[in-house]
């Protein structure tokens, strides 16, 4: 799940999931939920494979969101579904979605950039259902 948290000038995104893969996928959806009003209207009609190199979870999250933002900015592609796989050297993601249509998707924000300010990815092993719980926070520039 993801939620927006308060930041004076910009917007904060807080994401929780049971795995790092899940966390990254959820963060991707969270990012697009800031860009468009009706994320549920985005259909999975186009596919795009994205590869991110790196192992450190915070930089991985940062680079991943950054790549999604870049793809959106240059090609206008909105993604709503992600199949992610982590390996020893990085992340491979099959992203599904479609090109933005203003009338159907509605515009919420132009996200200028992902920032490093307050960026965190944490793993806590104390969740009651016995699973590792992952938490991420990231502030995006509006």
């Amino acid at each position: 799940m993801y939620e927006v948290f308060e930041h004076t000038a910009d917007l904060g995104l807080r994401v929780r999931a049971n795995s790092l893969e899940g966390l990254l996928a959820e963060a991707g959806r969270g990012l697009f939920s800031l860009i468009v009003t009706n994320l549920e209207q985005v259909k999975s009609v186009q596919e795009r494979l994205i590869r991110i190199e790196g192992g450190e979870p915070e930089y991985l999250l940062f680079d991943w969101l950054n790549e999604l933002l870049y793809t959106f900015d240059v090609e206008g592609l909105l993604f709503c579904e992600f199949s992610l796989q982590l390996d020893a050297t990085g992340l491979t993601a099959m992203c599904r979605g479609e090109a933005m249509q203003l009338d159907r998707h509605g515009m919420d924000h132009e996200v200028k950039a992902i920032t490093y300010h307050g960026l965190k990815v944490q793993q806590a092993s104390s969740s009651c259902d016995g699973h590792d719980r992952w938490l991420a926070e990231v502030i995006v520039d509006i």
């Binding site: 009003t37 515009m107 924000h109 490093y116 307050g118």
Partner: protein
Amino acid sequence: MAKQSFHGPLQRVNDCCWRIPKSYKPGMRVDGLIYASEQMIEQIKGDQAPEQVANVAFLPGIQHASLAMPDIHWGYGFCIGGVCATDPDEGGVISPGGVGYDINCGVRLVTSNLSYQDVKPHLAELVDQLFRHVPTGVGRGGKYKFNKQELRQLMQQGPAYLQDRGLTTAEDLEHTEGRGCLDGAISDFVSDRAIERGSGQCGTLGSGNHFLEVQVVDAIFDEVAAAAMGLQKDMVCVMIHSGSRGLGYQVCDDALKQLRGVPERYGIELPDRQLACAPINSPEGERYLGAMCAAANYAWCNRQLLMAQARDVFAQVFGRSWHELQMNLIYDVAHNIAKLEMHQIGGRDRRVWVHRKGATRAFPPHHVELPEAYQSIGQPVLIPGDMGRASWVLAGQVGSMEQTFGTACHGAGRRMSRTQAVKQAKGRRIDQELAARGVIARARSWKGLAEEQPDAYKDVNTVVDVVHRANLASKVARMRPIGVIKG
């Protein structure tokens, strides 16, 4: 990082200035100084902005103090409203976070010979036509196309490049900060990704707090300065607020990526990763500076092309050319930038890199960089307020050179977070509320309008008061908005 109040020390220096002593945190090299009134300082303590002022004081080579203007609010890395000067000869650094993602975000103001009475009957049509013809928001490309090679030239030259296409005049250049061109631009340092993001966006407004406003001069405070700028009461003006679009964001992003691990390599300890920096005299520093200057020049072209489109729309609506309508550029200022400037520090002239993150240059009368028209009055300092109340024109004063490296505020500054503003706007039609106040607003996004509603901002008049009383810049004219287009 949730919103937290600041509990550190804030000592009163005088009724416009407050100090965070460098003893507050080990690692601070200089004090922090925040320009604000007693009333404002309580609100300023409400988030992490003062902590960010203290954090900037860690940067190597910082001179005098880590400064903040009265429109200070919580940003990322630097606070918004932050100013910091670093000396390359003392190991000074350049920090992309001290410029921001939107490199050379800035403001320009254009006159006309139309009065409010002339425009009022055509206002709705005018705003609709502006909204139709000036690209705003996400996913709308501009009408001006530049290939990769042209873009690289444009980034080397700034708006002078547009002269051949008839989109810039000599007077426009004269009335743009630094003639719209930073000398150190090296467009080859701008990545292909940045060029890809920026190629279709030159001449587009963007979103967030960017806007194009039709305004009316409703009060003159300095007749001489106003006359020199061509401003008079009841005159209709156009104010444009935008920056370097996706190109600038990508340049900042590329730099921050290249700077991963670099501060550690140079033995620089930082309290926030977003303050990543490199010595000015280092390959990493030089690379960012070359690309940053190129992006700044692109931003000046962006605002030039936005102005060209606004001039065209006025000409079409009022049936006269923009020359006949006397739509002259008063000035264009950058408020997210780093510039190499000469300042007197410790009794001698030194060349320092002045980072202005949400702060406006405010050079005083007789400064060598000012155009002839403003030599006797000081640099026009353009301060957009919120879309319901007012915007200001000030003139730079000598106090800015003595206290703030020739700098004043850049806007009203946010009072509410975006989420708070949206919550407060629930069930309301901000556009209709504005219409009741005599402002026609057009925006692509309800949320965008809600986040930018007048109540989300501090009262710009109180911000300007502090700047005026501190003698950083003096009041010249106040404008009220009558038409707004946004993303």
